[in-house]
Subunit: 333 residues, 2 copies
């Protein structure tokens, strides 16, 4: 196991200890639990809360900060946080204007967020759920409710977070989050698995020279396992699926996210983006903004994902607003 | 080779094509060569130019932008850029106030930057060289001039870049860059090699369960190869070397950079930082600011480095200034 860890059982808690001691001006914990991450300075605004398993940094807690989330419940590696955690965070961040839950489409997370929402309702805290389901590889068109949430959740955080920061109402932030959710599609490819520290070995393997297109960020099976092709061919395969699902028209505009899954070099992500840009140009689709980097990882997995988010004037305005967390900074542009 | 590439011969140029098409508002090329990267909008200021081999993103070109560098000459993977490239960039970015060269202590880079400086002198462009040599593992104390430059160059860029952006004079920017250089020390550890695309296989190997402390970012030999120890032990070994070399006193203040070499998860970098923070606290040394992420990589190498930069009021002021490139954003703090 090529990892720098102490006792694997302490992986998440030592990581969180490191994060909280590194960024005390920006992040803190609530309800005496270092797995309940909230902004060090709260605001009088509609609150946004996420949560999910560890092992995906900067997902999920890395987006707690100005212009993005207010709190995040952190689970064990690839495990849902508890309903109690989410409820405690909800109570902490609610300013009376309600709390919007944004998380990925995984059964454990859904169950726990729903339970937390019911507990919050007994305290008269209004909540609503936006469940990211951007992974086009995980279920066919028409069955979007079965799709997994992956890197595209970034666009939901960014758009809804910008609106909330500006003081938009609960209904307005909800509407914007749902619009971003409806407009984003993602597809991933992996060349290697990753290792859960407590397990100590990969739960599956990919031969050298093979790739799995459509693999999920926990190693869920993809749609095709085949010989590793040149980067442009891999991108073409993924873009074809994404574009078929989105049904964009010439003159439409998109934001693009090229996300490294952990061990893929940024050099390669830009070789990937080069081909994406060519394809979009050929189809007459404009690129509003490009994000390239690690936005949703699987620890040391080799691979990347492509997300496209169709944007209109409203989403462009929100995406271009500044944001600041210890894991993601963006000046307004 | 678990990489997403097309023809490996085109690795650098396709990467640069991707970068330039992704960030046209921020970066452009000069002298009709996409390996000559400069800011899209130049300024009337002392100019900072860097350069070096590819394969280390965000080094070196990722630091071209507001509050950091003005231009960067990009070489092949692990190869120096040419003197002509550096000279062309120098001519492009000089506003009459001189150009400061900041690069790592590698013979090819030194030779080419010196030649470029001589060519610039014939055009009456003033230049000076600041050669990063922060890697304490690469030569003993007293032989600092033999040490390699690694991730610590970030602090030279950041301090000198902030001063230049504020309009400081050539002599002043030089003084500040040299101060940052004198104050920074780095040490790295690797658990795996990386593969140069054109070569297609690693130039050395590290057995599973082994680590090499002090390894360079091109795989230069380290000071000890041994069994992989728990993260805290690895950190203690590295910190002991760094602190012995820096000779800090209680009440001194440092900025810390925990740099991933490519394939090491951010989760682990924070487990590492947790131990660094404990050690510094025990010694009464304050932490001014912490950077955790990928700042100087070796493509998909597994490993990390620790850099400490001793800071005074002047350096704190400069490090906390805002900066913005496609690879690094920081709001003023």
């Amino acid at each position: 196991m090529k990892k720098f860890v102490n006792d694997p059982v302490l992986f998440v808690d030592e990581m969180l200890e490191g994060i909280l001691v590194a960024h005390p001006d920006q992040l803190t914990q609530c309800a005496d639990n270092n797995r309940n991450i909230v902004r060090a300075q709260g605001g009088d605004k509609v609150a946004l809360v996420s949560g999910g398993g560890s092992g995906h940094l900067p997902l999920f807690m890395g987006y707690v900060g100005e212009g993005l989330l207010d709190g995040c419940a952190v689970g064990g590696v690839f495990q849902s946080p508890s309903a109690d955690q989410i409820y405690e965070i909800t109570r902490h961040v609610d300013s009376g204007q309600g709390v919007i839950y944004i998380y990925g489409n995984y059964s454990g997370d859904i169950m726990n967020f729903e339970m937390a929402g019911e507990m919050a309702a007994m305290d008269d805290i209004k909540t609503v759920h936006i469940v990211g389901n951007d992974d086009v590889a995980s279920a066919p068109k028409g069955e979007e409710h079965k799709r997994r949430g992956v890197a595209g959740i970034f666009f939901i955080y960014k758009a809804a977070g910008a609106a909330a920061e500006r003081g938009a109402s609960f209904e307005e932030v909800k509407r914007i989050g749902e619009k971003a959710k409806a407009n984003v599609r993602t597809m991933g490819v992996a060349l290697s698995p990753c290792i859960i520290p407590e397990v100590g070995k990969a739960s599956f393997s990919i031969e050298d020279g093979e790739m799995e297109i459509g693999m999920g960020i926990h190693g869920e099976p993809g749609i095709v396992r085949t010989t590793l092709a040149p980067a442009d061919e891999v991108v073409d395969h993924m873009m074809e699926r994404i574009l078929a699902d989105m049904q964009l028209n010439a003159k439409d505009e998109v934001a693009v996210l090229v996300n490294g899954l952990g061990a893929t070099a940024k050099e390669e992500l830009y070789i990937v983006y080069r081909r994406i840009a060519q394809t979009l140009k050929e189809q007459g689709i404009s690129v509003f903004h490009v994000y390239v980097g690690e936005f949703a990882t699987s620890m040391e997995m080799v691979g990347f994902s492509i997300s496209l988010c169709k944007v209109d004037e409203e989403l462009k305005d929100l995406l271009s607003q500044g944001a600041r967390t210890p894991f993601f900074e963006q000046a307004a542009f």
